[in-house]
């Protein structure tokens, strides 16, 4: 047989339905006529001949139906019919439709918005080739506090060794970030430069939008630069002629070879990428390399691309093996982990986003349960219709399909409304999201997200439509038609099912509320977090004097003294301190050996924050001195090596309170691992911020370890902008080329971790509220429906003298049972949720008593109110009317 003939016949039957039906009718009429003629010829009267023919022929319609059925594509045909019925139902019950569509629109809208958000940040491909094959070298696997993988403790020579000895990595590159003064085109500005090896872009597989990137073949090409799109646009006017010109960084000139596209932002916040003349970058442009046993300067970050077919673990083993055998004098050396770049780029927001996505999924689940419930209630009122159709021979499968079609149509309407809502919601999300979220610019609604919404709608429709189908399939014909006749109570099975759905809603709402409650408590705790210093009225900014002139320590020290002197003399500046890094974002973590401790394995030494400060630092930040003295101007290169430790460290290693006068051994930048005398103990400052492991601080005087960048902290009543302007003015008088950046109020900086939590908390709070609302509607629906169904029973009871209280109790019992079951389930679920989100919490135990007491109480109150309304209404049933209504 020919499949095309068949297909053509079926398609024709489907699309040219009218013509096909007409032909069939004609054909059969002719047949009847011919039969009648033959009968007439046999001697019957015209009338009798016709009737005989009709008897002989049999049921015309049945034959037609058999032909239609056999013609196949019947399911499509029936689907069209189901769709027509569904649309009719939807239009005939506007109230019902509106409730369902609104419920679903909210849930699907929220899900679509969060999913777009999630996709933009977590799932959309990074702007380079196969990011899952690019790895970052890290000291610790979970070390997300160091987004740039700072300080793996390797040196330039080590990098060359690594390059040679790790075949499991197809290529490795290294880079370091630093601020540099960019001059050229008549302006001078501070920019963040990524100083990198020439294979950086080829390793990532990233192409320039304009010009070209570096290539490993640029061996003799000298110093080159590639600009970031944003920097090129805003600072250099987006002039394409920049390619081929030179720009100057810290008075070293670089030839611009290209501009990257806007989507390439790696490392984040980089303004330009530069490659020095020699292939392994200097740690700071224009600065002398810091020699470490002849093996070159410190490297910051190493990235690699896995060779084809090599797994992350294999590469990690190989790299660790190579590093162990390196002749590296650096004592901080330890096992190196490789981290997938994709994980790294979103690492610290991933848990929060996954939690949000699960929560919004739960909201959808509640909405689905609610819709299932509504559908069940309505199916109950349609029992008679279904009964009649079953009695007339409709297949159960056919009825199921029709019910499902209806719920899918409703869900699609909800989904369409939801997509509209989500566009608006997404704008809101992007607007209120903290700017620190990576890749925020990539968030948008696209075809993929729309298909997600479509899939979600269909799925919700199918699942929420299953409950009525299940209940219809279980009920038998006789009870269906009978119960419908009595208008009495629904089949107990369906009532149980509805109660079960409501219990589920209550349970989920409870879980969401508990999660929101725990986050709220975390944020409270974080707000109350004390850093150990007084951030009020402290303005701070970073100053970097990167010019060639500051190469020598003496020049750095000269600049430091000049600036300190000028600032201290400024009116309104109460005290001025300097430090290498800022609390909450410490940079250098090194191991120390306190006197009296012996470590067989150097890796066992405690790691501390290595903080380089000026004498007045403690006064400026309000850190109390506990013992001994602060640094003075005489703690300089000529004086004995000194250090100050914090109270936490003093307590731990010098428990008898005799820390002052003891010594610590610490390896410093210039290679010395001299013992330093402890001259003072200060109160412990939580320099790592809330939620981190909390390393102790060891302070060293700037004058003994001068570097050409530091933060200036000014205790003043003057606001940050004015103070910043004053600072700039002071700088200009010393050296006009030195810019300031990162100007901030210390209070803002310390509030940052808490602020970062506000966003997920706000969202989760919104979801939880939505969930509680939906659950309340669900409970209300079930009890109210129960009242309607039992109107007659209530009427009889009241006619027989039942008091209103008894009626209320009757109704409440119906609502309370699923509530109690849901609460129990929800509490169990909440414990699981609380433990699952443990690392999102701060300062709160997962089983926080206030949360676990207050939340169920709130939920119980809301749901009880939802039951109380229909219960109250039940007492107003008029017995006479209730009985007569039958």
């Amino acid at each position: 047989m020919n499949p095309f003939v068949k297909l053509r016949c079926r398609l024709r039957a489907l699309f040219r339905r009218g013509a096909v039906e007409h032909e069939m009718r004609e054909e059969m009429r002719l047949h009847l006529e011919l039969l009648a003629e033959r009968n007439a010829a046999a001697g019957l009267s015209a009338e009798d001949a016709r009737y005989a023919a009709m008897r002989q022929f049999g049921g015309v319609e049945q034959i037609k139906e058999r032909v239609r059925e056999q013609r196949g594509l019947g399911w499509l045909d029936q689907g069209r019919q189901d769709l027509r019925y569904a649309v009719r139902q939807v239009r005939r019950n506007p109230g019902f439709t509106a409730t369902v569509v609104l419920t679903l629109a909210l849930a699907i809208g929220a899900n679509t918005a969060i999913f777009s958000f999630f996709r933009g940040i977590l799932l959309r491909p990074l702007a380079y080739e196969k990011p899952e094959r690019v790895v970052l070298f890290k000291k610790e696997v979970g070390d997300f506090a160091e987004p740039m993988g700072v300080g793996v403790g390797l040196l330039a020579a080590d990098f060359r060794d690594l390059q040679r000895r790790t075949p499991s990595l197809a290529d490795i590159a290294t880079y370091t970030l630093d601020a540099a003064t960019v001059t050229g085109r008549g302006t001078s500005m501070l920019a963040v430069a990524t100083i990198t090896t020439r294979n950086f872009f080829t390793l990532l597989g990233a192409k320039a939008a304009l010009g070209r990137t570096f290539s490993p073949a640029d061996e003799k090409a000298g110093r080159l630069a590639v600009l970031a799109h944003g920097f090129w646009q805003t600072r250099l006017g987006g002039d394409p002629a920049i390619v081929g010109q030179t720009i100057t960084l810290n008075k070293v000139s670089f030839t611009v070879v290209g501009v990257m596209g806007a989507e390439f932002e790696f490392p984040r916040e980089t303004h330009l990428w530069v490659t020095p003349a020699e292939n392994v970058p200097e740690s700071v442009i224009g600065q002398r390399s810091l020699e470490f046993g002849g093996r070159g300067n410190y490297l910051r970050t190493i990235i690699g691309r896995l060779a084809p077919g090599v797994s992350l673990t294999q590469a990690e083993t190989e790299v660790s093996g190579v590093i162990e055998r390196l002749p590296n004098p650096n004592a901080t050396q330890r096992a190196i982990h490789l981290v997938n770049m994709r994980d790294q780029s979103v690492g610290n927001v991933r848990p929060a986003l996954i939690m949000l996505l699960s929560c919004v999924g739960l909201v959808l689940l509640i909405a689905g349960l609610n819709v299932a419930n509504l559908m069940l209630s309505r199916a109950a009122t349609r029992q008679r219709e279904i009964g009649v159709r079953l009695a007339l021979g409709a297949g159960r499968g056919r009825i199921a399909r029709q019910l499902l079609t209806e719920s899918v149509v409703l869900a699609l309407l909800g989904g369409a409304a939801g997509v509209l809502l989500s566009g608006w919601g997404l704008n809101l999300l992007v607007h209120i999201a903290p700017a620190s979220l990576p890749r925020l610019a990539a968030v948008r609604v696209d075809g993929f997200v729309l298909s997600f919404a479509l899939g979600l709608s269909v799925l919700t429709g199918l699942i929420s439509g299953l409950a009525p189908v299940w209940s219809a399939a279980r009920s038998d014909l006789v009870t269906l038609t009978k119960s419908a006749d009595r208008g009495g109570s629904a089949a107990p099975g369906s009532r149980r099912l509805r109660a079960g759905l409501v219990a589920g809603e209550v349970a989920i709402a409870l879980m969401l509320l508990v999660a929101a409650g725990l986050l709220l408590r975390s944020m409270e705790k974080m707000r109350a977090f004390t850093w150990g210093f007084d951030p009020a009225q402290v303005v701070s900014a970073r100053v970097a004097f990167l010019d060639e002139r500051y190469r020598e320590d003496a020049a750095k020290v000269g600049f430091y003294h000049a600036l300190l002197e000028k600032l201290t003399a400024m009116p309104g500046f109460e005290s001025v301190g300097m430090s290498l890094d800022r609390v909450g974002q410490t940079w250098i973590h090194l191991p120390v050996t306190p006197e009296g401790q012996v470590y067989a394995n150097p890796a066992d030494r405690p790691e501390v924050n290595y903080r380089i400060i000026s004498p007045d630092y403690f006064r400026a930040l309000g850190v109390p001195l506990v013992q001994g003295r602060a640094f003075t101007a005489t703690d300089d290169q000529n004086g004995p090596r000194v250090a100050i430790i914090d109270a936490a460290m003093a307590r731990r290693y010098f428990p008898s309170g005799n820390a002052v006068g003891k010594r610590v051994q610490i390896v410093t930048f210039n290679g010395s691992d001299a013992w330093r005398e402890i001259v003072g103990v200060v109160a412990a400052v939580k320099s790592d911020g809330p939620g981190a492991e909390g390393r102790a601080d060891v302070y060293l005087p700037y004058l003994q370890t001068p570097l050409n960048s530091f933060y200036v902290h000014i205790r003043t009543k003057i606001d940050a902008t004015t103070a910043g302007a004053m600072l700039t003015r002071a700088l200009r008088e010393i050296d006009a080329s030195v810019p300031i950046f990162d100007l901030a109020n210390m209070e803002e900086i310390t509030a940052k971790p808490a602020d970062a939590r506000r966003f997920p908390l706000g969202l989760l709070g919104g979801f939880a509220t939505l969930a509680v609302g939906l659950a309340a509607i669900g409970i209300y629906g079930v009890t109210a429906y129960g009242v309607v169904q039992r109107t007659r029973e209530i009427g009889v009871r009241m006619a027989l003298g039942a008091r209103p209280q008894a009626v209320i109790a009757l109704v409440l019992r119906q609502g309370l049972h699923p509530l109690a079951v849901g609460m129990r389930l929800g509490l169990a679920g909440s414990v699981a949720v609380a433990f699952a989100m443990r690392n999102l919490l701060f300062g709160v135990e997962p089983l926080d008593a206030p949360v676990f007491l207050a939340i169920p109480l709130i939920l119980a109150t809301v749901t009880l109110l939802a039951c109380a309304v229909p219960a109250q209404r039940a007492t107003r049933v008029n017995p006479v009317e209730a009985l007569r209504a039958e």
Binding site: L30, F57, G58, Q70
Partner: protein, 110 residues
């Protein structure tokens, strides 16, 4: 798909229809009449089986329909064998012959 005189075996109706159309195109009524004539009224085809079978054969591509004019001057749908239908008829005749021989052998009537 049977009558009181002889039950039609499943699938034999297709064969009968194809056979009835072997020599000339016919409308549905004609097919029914022809089968009756050919079987000396031993077999009558019920309309309830005839039309579904005819539509099925058309879908298989063994017969094709064309509108023509009937003996009483009315528009009628005439069915004609296609080339594929002819081949099918041949095949079905052969397999029927084999089957009936075999059954006769079993029954000891040969």
């Amino acid at each position: 798909m049977a009558n009181s005189k002889a039950d039609l075996l499943q699938g034999t109706l297709d064969l009968l229809i194809l056979k009835a159309l072997q020599h000339e195109p016919m409308h549905g009524f004609g097919v029914a009449v022809r089968i009756g004539q050919m079987s000396k009224d031993m077999l009558t085809v019920e309309q309830g089986s005839l039309y579904p079978a005819v539509y099925r054969l058309e879908e298989q591509g063994w017969i094709k329909a064309e509108w023509g004019v009937s003996e009483n001057n009315r528009k009628a749908k005439f069915y004609a064998l296609t080339a594929a239908g002819r081949k099918q008829l041949q095949a079905e005749e052969q397999s029927w012959a084999k089957l009936s021989t075999a059954i006769n052998l079993v029954l000891g009537n040969a």
